[in-house]
Symmetry: C3
Subunit: 208 residues, 3 copies
């Protein structure tokens, strides 16, 4: 079981590293800048989670595999992604959605294993899922995805609640994980595909 979680964690790391590297490519950064942005995106959310929970040194210090996965992803990306016009514009959002789904579960899982409540698990899932992307967007001076009206934080929160509820209802760990990941992914991808959004809270002064 825990091997699957570890495998998902590494997948999420690779996927977010890719999303960071692609964002770096849009800003014409040099290879080491690409590594920095890819790393921050991939391990930023989990680092914030570990630091808030007090489980330091954070996960990637005690296990080098994460940094190696990031390095490999960046190198592969630098070598393979050379024809930008062949890269569909949807690549970054989809990679990001997959990472969001994977990391939400990882974060919620970790909080529950430490004995925290379902509420904290949902919050930690959210932090793990959106933290890295927020740092990436802030560094690239973009409005963080989480601030835009397209359903983003919502997808992570729904995934986290789904995971916690499934576990609480006695659904087995693996099924809970897949259900939660699937719900986050389907919500986020639908939002991207059909430009869905919840009704916005709008305080902008309107002129009549």
């Amino acid at each position: 079981m825990s091997q699957w979680i570890y495998f998902f964690d590494l997948c999420g790391t690779a996927v977010f590293a890719l999303s960071g590297a692609l964002a770096a490519g849009k800003h014409r950064m040099d290879p080491f800048g690409v590594i920095v942005l890819a790393s921050v995106t991939a391990i930023g959310g989990g680092s914030i989670r570990d630091v808030l929970l007090g489980t330091t040194p954070v996960f990637w210090i005690t296990n080098h595999t994460y940094l190696i996965v990031i390095l490999a992803t960046v190198i592969a990306c630098l070598i393979l992604v050379r024809k930008p016009h062949k890269l569909p514009s949807i690549t970054l959002p989809v990679a990001d959605a997959l990472g969001l789904a994977l990391f939400t579960i990882i974060g919620a899982q970790k909080a529950l294993l430490l004995g925290h409540s379902g509420m904290i698990a949902v919050v930690m899932g959210l932090i793990t899922g959106v933290g890295g992307g927020i740092i990436r967007d802030v560094l690239c001076r973009q409005v963080p995805m989480v601030l835009r009206t397209e359903i983003y934080a919502t997808a992570s929160i729904v995934g986290g609640i789904c995971y916690t509820l499934c576990l609480a209802s006695g659904v087995n760990s693996m099924t809970s994980m897949f259900l939660a990941m699937f719900s986050t992914l389907i919500i986020r991808l639908s939002a991207i595909r059909w430009h869905l959004s919840l009704p916005a809270f709008d305080l902008k002064t309107k002129r009549h």
Copy 2:
């Protein structure tokens, strides 16, 4: 006594959550985005303080009341604040000033309780007071209030020094708290009202 501090802490949380929610409303975010921004504003400063002091898991993980206060504030805000043109433009700065005053004391208090010096207490008051607002402003891509010339960090630092000096001079805890909060609030509100500012440190090249 400590009940008063706890009560102030929750007030500050609600007030900063409101300021975060109002900022979110200006950016037309969806309800879950509003929750994220309100939370970050309300517990961001205190989280940074706890993480730097090493008192992890941070306060809102071990006590759910803070998250519940934020949720309640956001829901109330989403339901009640529906007529933006009836909301005076001064609401956000004033809510922010009140939060600044409350959180400065809470932060200084916590550092002193942990046995740190008055200097660290002032710094922790400042971090608790301005941290959440800085994160809110960075995420909304605004110049952080603390960077603008209107007296902001100054108000928190004066409040923190006032609190530490009062306690050191034997003034009782409650009076010290009120004096410090009052001084922060009066300085910040005066600065807002009359656009006061300290002389700026200005290195912008002037054209002659």
Copy 3:
């Protein structure tokens, strides 16, 4: 030996505080805002390092000297730097490069002393070196230097690798330090002087 490291640490602190204060001056901040930005720049990277490594309370809480050095630097800067047009435009980048070199070594050193691997030492050197500057640039709403194509993260990573390799090859501690600092400094200053950059990873869609 460890006295030299401490001395370099304080030098780096002063130099980064100066770079933060100069950035604040470009944004016309008030004196306390200058202190905040100078502090964040000077101790931001080291604080992130300590928090990730779990060595909390962070270094400047247990040793007041850092805050005093920052205060002294800011006061000196406010008094002395009064003629902006006499300040060469190269001052900020050069101060920043010196801080980068000093802090890279300090960070790598700390990780090694805690028993972490060379890889983590390089990463911690990088975080200590670029962390404060990134926060400064984000707060000032500038594209972080580390994101620009001019060699920046690269200089720190090369310095960190050089330091770790020297120590591993049995070079004595002091020589390793100087070699590593010199390599970082020479790379970064050359990059500034001749506008060197590594080939950028460029995904910007080109029009044909």
